[in-house]
């Protein structure tokens, strides 16, 4: 039973990943991230992605606060936040999030408020989509490990 479960789960994981790649949600950088995971850092991907989520959510929250402000004018700050988002997203291979952040950044450089608001919406959407996918991936992974008899460190 264990063996079958593992294979099935593994297949599910692969399918999910393939789909994400296909949609452009993830790219090769994510693969590199996976390659960095080994015996010495067995939860590397999980850890990094979690850090990414924490940081990104903070950034997104700040961005929203900034843009919601009627008297908003600090586009530079938006630019800085976005820079960080672009950097971290591209580092983990979140291609779509990165791309929409770049678009958002362009709008902020043009000081286009409505453009920025739209940009923010899109980024938030993409981000949440990615987060959901990642959660699903991790769940599958966890199940697979359990099925393979490996204790998943919590």
């Amino acid at each position: 039973m264990l063996g079958l479960g593992v294979e099935r789960l593994q297949a599910d994981i692969n399918r999910l990943l393939a789909s994400l790649f296909h949609q452009g949600v993830l790219d090769e950088q994510f693969l590199q991230l996976q390659q960095l995971q080994d015996e010495t850092s067995p939860n590397f991907v999980y850890d990094v992605i979690n850090i990414y989520f924490d940081e990104s959510e903070k950034l997104l929250r700040n961005l929203r606060l900034l843009l919601m402000d009627r008297e908003f004018s600090d586009y530079k700050k938006i630019g800085l936040h976005l820079n960080q988002l672009v950097g971290s997203s591209s580092s983990i291979g979140a291609r779509r999030v990165r791309n929409v952040c770049v678009a958002f950044r362009s709008a902020s450089e043009l000081r286009n408020r409505p453009g920025c608001l739209r940009g923010l919406e899109v980024v938030e959407h993409e981000y949440h989509y990615l987060k959901n996918m990642m959660h699903e991936l991790f769940q599958l992974e966890q199940q697979r490990l359990l099925a393979a008899g490996v204790r998943y460190p919590m």
């Binding site: 790219d27 090769e28 950088q29 693969l31 590199q32 991230l33 960095l36 850092s41 590397f44 850890d47 990094v48 850090i51 990414y52 924490d54 940081e55 800085l80 820079n83 960080q84 672009v86 950097g87 971290s88 591209s90 580092s91 983990i92 291979g93 291609r95």
Partner: protein, 611 residues
């Protein structure tokens, strides 16, 4: 070190290289850290620039390389870059999510040795050690001449951190901390003399000249001159020696058929020259004809300069700053220096830059000279082709300033610094002036065909005999002759280089002219800076040739023209350095090629600004 040893060191080196990674983005920092560990580097991370600076300041030798993000909340990455470069002289790689060329340019101008784009790929990180090696090579070349007592040979990688640290400190501090006596004093271990030397500033000299003129050249006696000048703390001895030099100077320039040359700044010229003479015993022996009072081109005078000036103390940081043109003829000067105490006139002039007391005094002199020099030099260069006489003076200046550099300790550094300063951060700014100076030198040296000098004083005498030479050749070549003539003294025994029969291959130690800059083009600043540093050591001459030619063939080096031979000495080592440099270059390139298409990351481009 043999070639094999060098290669071995290189092989092991990237492993364990200590990297400090700074990025406020935790995600990227974590990934970067892991990637770096995968490359077998030793990684320290921090997400705050301030903390990074603290870590670096705590112990400069604790890290080999710094990788820093550009956009950080607590401190701008470029600022950190500058500070690290300034204080610690470590190679810094910039990291950014922005591929804006302006940022990249800013990185370059602030001295970053590379600019990577996020996401960082491991292939790129595998190559970053090259920056450490490169900067060590450069530092070694630079410090080698001046750091002989450390016994550092052509050790690129294997060189001790201390050596680098010291060289780094020296260079950086000399460049940026003009008042940093401390650093210099630390390194000027041979400085035992603490006499107060009189610095003959332009003003002072003007007074002197006015007094002499007033009294009448023939009748000018030190005591009377002193009275007329009415300057405090000036002793009769000071004046006497200055007078003697003045007379020598007049004699010298009157012996040259060069018209006009330094007419514009006879005072300046004299001062420059005289300061270089200080250490020369030879001068004492020469007959001093009472000159015509006309100042001709300074070239011949310069020729007699000898290395005295130049050397100064190779082992002191002072003369070695950016322009190490002055370093070569160390031997001669060192010899003379021991005799310095005996020469009364010496004591009155700012000879020894080891002398702590000199430093503040020397400043005005050099600063002024620097300005005048560069102005003149630039003018001269422009008029070069039109005005023969000017070329003579243009030749004069280069040697002067460099000689002065060494002679007048700290001020020399200032002199160098003034010009080198912009270079220190990112090449390209003043590189011009230095370029031109070097051009002169290198051109001069390369085409000289003067007979080898027998000895110090004899060679000086020869100079005068040779004086007509400058005029026998047209335009640009004129300089070559003029300046080449003063290469002769450098080929003195002290420098241990056999005087070349044809000065085409001149003692590289004399003038660090590894690169024969095309007079009409300025070599690429970055490369220029490197070459300046590399010039310091005669050892490296051939190597730098190779390095320069391999690193940037576009620089217009007429490398072939000048076969810098280090008198046969270092050729073996140079060869090995060449090999290493070439091999590292090749490695870089091949790795660069790999990284290009390897994982095919869509749209990721890493900008190599420094290869």
């Amino acid at each position: 070190m043999t070639v094999e040893q060098n290669f071995e060191a290189l092989d092991q080196f990237p492993v364990g290289m200590r990297v400090l990674a700074v990025d406020d983005d935790q995600t990227c920092l974590k990934i970067l850290e892991t990637l770096l560990r995968l490359c077998q580097y030793h990684v320290t991370t921090t997400n705050q620039a301030q903390k990074a600076l603290e870590l670096l300041r705590e112990n400069k030798n604790k890290f080999d390389l710094v990788i820093s993000d550009v956009d950080m909340p607590d401190m701008d990455g470029f600022k950190l870059l500058e500070l690290v470069g300034l204080e610690m002289d470590l190679p810094v790689i910039m990291l950014s999510a922005h591929s804006d060329p302006k940022y990249v340019m800013k990185g370059v101008t602030h001295g970053a040795c590379d600019y990577l784009l996020k996401p960082v790929r491991i292939e790129e990180l595998k190559n970053i050690w090259q920056h450490v090696v490169r900067s060590r090579f450069d530092k070694n070349r630079g410090s080698n001449n001046g750091d002989k007592r450390d016994g550092s040979g052509n050790e690129g990688v294997g060189n001790s951190d201390q050596n680098n640290g010291r060289a780094n400190n020296r260079k950086r501090k000399d460049q940026y901390n003009e008042e940093d006596d401390e650093e210099r004093d630390d390194n000027d271990d041979s400085s035992a003399q603490k006499k107060q030397r009189v610095v003959w500033t332009v003003e002072l000299h003007k007074k002197f000249v006015a007094a002499v003129n007033q009294l009448g050249y023939e009748k000018a006696m030190p005591k009377k001159i002193l009275d007329l000048m009415n300057v405090e703390k000036l002793t009769r001895e000071n004046v006497a020696s200055h007078l003697q030099k003045f007379r020598l100077y007049l004699k010298r320039i009157s012996g040259v058929a060069n018209q006009q040359a330094i007419m514009a700044n006879p005072d300046l010229h004299f001062l420059q020259m005289s300061s270089s003479h200080n250490g020369l015993d030879g001068f004492h022996h020469r007959p001093i004809p009472v000159g015509s009072g006309q100042f001709h081109g300074g070239a011949p005078a310069i020729r007699s300069f000898p290395p005295n000036g130049i050397l100064g103390r190779l082992n002191t940081p002072s003369g070695i700053g950016v322009i190490n043109l002055s370093s070569p003829p160390a031997g001669m000067f060192l010899q003379n220096q021991t005799d310095l105490g005996k020469l009364h006139h010496v004591s009155s002039l700012p000879l020894n830059h080891n002398d702590g007391g000199n430093i503040p005094q020397g400043l005005p002199l050099n600063l002024e000279f620097d300005q005048l020099y560069t102005n003149n030099n630039n003018n001269n260069i422009r008029n070069m082709n039109n005005n023969k006489s000017i070329t003579g003076s243009s030749m004069a200046f280069p040697s002067f300033s460099t000689q002065q550099n060494s002679i007048i300790g700290a001020p020399n550094n200032n002199l160098v610094v003034l010009e080198g300063h912009p270079q220190s951060s990112p090449p390209g700014f003043l590189g011009h002036q230095i370029n031109k100076r070097l051009e002169h030198w290198s051109n001069a040296v390369s085409s000289s065909t003067l007979p080898p000098p027998a000895q110090n004083s004899n060679s000086i005498n020869h100079q005068f005999d040779v004086s007509p030479l400058p005029h026998s050749r047209p335009d640009t070549l004129e300089w070559n002759n003029v300046s080449s003539s003063y290469s002769i003294p450098f080929c003195d025994s002290a420098t241990t280089l056999s005087p070349p029969p044809a000065l085409d291959t001149t003692n590289p130690r004399a003038f660090c002219r590894n690169t024969d800059f095309d007079s009409n083009t300025n070599a690429q600043p970055g490369g220029f800076y490197d070459t300046l540093q590399t010039r310091q050591s005669g050892n490296y001459c051939p190597t730098t040739d190779a390095m320069l030619s391999s690193s940037n063939p576009k620089e217009g080096f007429v490398v072939g023209q000048q076969k810098l031979q280090s008198g046969g000495f270092m050729s073996a080592e140079a060869g090995s350095l060449d090999d290493i440099v070439n091999s590292t270059m090749k490695q870089e390139q091949s790795q660069g090629d790999l990284s290009g298409g390897d994982l095919g990351y869509g749209g990721f481009s890493s900008l190599r600004t420094c290869i």
